[in-house]
Amino acid sequence: MTQSNRRRLLPYLLLAPGIIWLVIFFVLPMIYMGRLSLETGTLGNFQFNWQFSNFTDSLSAYQTQFLRSLYYAGVATILCFLIGYPLAYAIAFKSGRWRNALLFAVIAPFFTTYLIRTLAWKTILDDQSPMVNLLSTLGLAPDGRVLATSGAVIAGLTYNFLPFMILPIYANLERLDMRLVEAAKDLYSNSWTAFRKVTLPLSAPGIVAGTLLTFIPAIGDYVNAVFLGGTQQSMIGNVIQAQYLKVLDYPTAAALSFTLMAFILIAVLVYIKFAGSEALMEEEAR
């Protein structure tokens, strides 16, 4: 083999194991799931026969859970933004020598297991906890309960995905050219106007990235609904998990997973179209 041939082949040799792994264990499973979603029959005897009604049937049977997941994930994403943006801003511009300590605090939740973090919220929101006592004294928890309410599940989702909102916004703000803000102030805009007209639009790529990183895992989540919710709070993730692992109705489960993925894809495309195709392009170009 000549030197130049070897040089041309080298990248393919380096890539081969990874590409093969991803094709066999990421792309191929999607195809298998597509096939499974179009089968009919009972356990042990599934037949492939282009059963498209699996999609329509499962969607109409579980549309409540779909809409609920959309609602929970949507509210959690908005809350993450409202809580996360000021914090990201403070870390980027106001933290001084505390910056690393604050960043550490933001990622610290990742150092404990996701399930155990959620379990900690179950402890905090338990019927007999001081927090819930306080809330019911203030009349904010009508039946003296927070667990098994929509609020509890949304709170759990918000907490668990908050760092995914903060970090991209922080990364974006940190690179922001402060001279632009100074220019705005020199041109007699007050702090708030300068923020609204300069800082906020310039941080759009971070906001878009943070929103996607929060919304996508939140809408498919079922851990928070299991630990913090009740039967009235089950999300589409709970349905898919139960259909695959308990009911063993694989075609329905596969159809639901596909619908969820299509749903997310559409939501993301619509969002990007309206909220920041340019912002995302800009990020891509960096």
Partner: protein, 290 residues
């Protein structure tokens, strides 16, 4: 006095006390807010650690009922829990090893070489990170079902390597991009072979990136619940044990082990940060454009 005046304007004359407090509050609002927000992020961690010293009545460790160090004295008393932890550690170690090697090779190919199909490779690496875990878990299970493969440790390993690869590529790639290639050229000029250049120049310089990527892969693997939930068969990992125990009551040892894992991760983090700083000093031979 001059300096102080320049740093912050003097309060307007005739300002009353409440006015002054209000101004102070307005100026420090964002800092006060940060303190509250950070407390919110840290409270659950504090709860986990505090409740590892709880002496619960009954099976549920949810209500504070007295201090004890009993469970710290015997963290591995529950066999199923300890076994699950062992499975998790073994799984995380193996998937870290495999995904770090595969991912590093991919990152090198993507940064260092121009070739046909580069775009396709990039897309294939990004998409798994944007796919919800539940869809990845469900699709893998669909394939294993249709292929008639028994789920268990092997399928868990396959799944974990799969979702770790993309993250390894991203981390190592960012390290390679900030790399000064003239160091390699110098080594070649001084008579190093390609392999020697890699061994003595390239590898030591990207090693912090590889270590960081490996740690990320380890953390992702040991923390994974959703994908494992679908593909574990009868194998039980630490998060799967916790999920199962949720119905039967969670032993205090879960909190003890979680606190230990937290401490270990914090130390590992600190260690890498120090290593990274040292490597940056090493790489600082080149002019840094700041």
């Amino acid at each position: 006095m001059e300096a102080a005046t320049a740093a912050r304007p003097l309060p307007p004359p005739g300002e009353t006390r409440p006015q002054r407090s209000w101004r102070w509050l307005r100026e420090h609002a964002i800092n006060l807010y940060s303190v509250v927000a950070i407390a919110y992020m840290l409270i659950p961690i504090a709860v986990i650690i505090v409740f590892s010293f709880n002496d619960p009545v009954g099976k549920y460790n949810l209500v504070w009922s007295g201090f004890t160090t009993q469970y710290w004295g015997d963290p591995f008393a529950i066999t199923e829990l300890t076994d699950a932890l062992k499975v998790s550690l073994e799984l995380a170690a193996l998937s870290t090893l495999v995904s770090t090697i595969i991912g590093t090779m991919m990152a090198i190919a993507l940064v260092r070489h121009q070739f046909l199909g580069r775009r396709f490779a990039n897309v294939l690496i990004v998409i798994p990170m944007a796919t919800p875990e539940i869809v990845i878990g469900a699709s893998l299970l669909s394939m294993f079902l249709l292929a008639g493969l028994q789920t268990g440790f092997m399928t868990l390993l396959i799944a974990h390597v799969m979702f770790c690869i993309s993250f390894v590529v991203v981390v190592v790639r960012s390290r390679l991009i900030g790399f000064d290639r003239s160091l390699e050229e110098a080594a070649r000029d001084l008579g190093c072979t390609a392999l020697q250049t890699f061994r003595f120049i390239t590898f030591p310089l990207i090693a912090p990136g590889i270590i960081g990527a490996g740690m990320l892969a380890f953390a992702l693997s040991i923390d994974d619940f959703v994908i494992s939930n679908f593909n574990s068969g009868t194998t039980v990992t630490f998060p799967l044990y916790v999920f199962g125990a949720n119905q039967r009551g969670i032993p205090v040892q879960v909190n003890v082990i979680a606190s230990m894992l937290f401490a270990v991760t914090v130390f590992a983090m600190a260690f890498t940060v120090i290593q990274q700083r040292r490597a940056e000093k090493m790489a600082a031979v080149r002019p840094i454009d700041e």
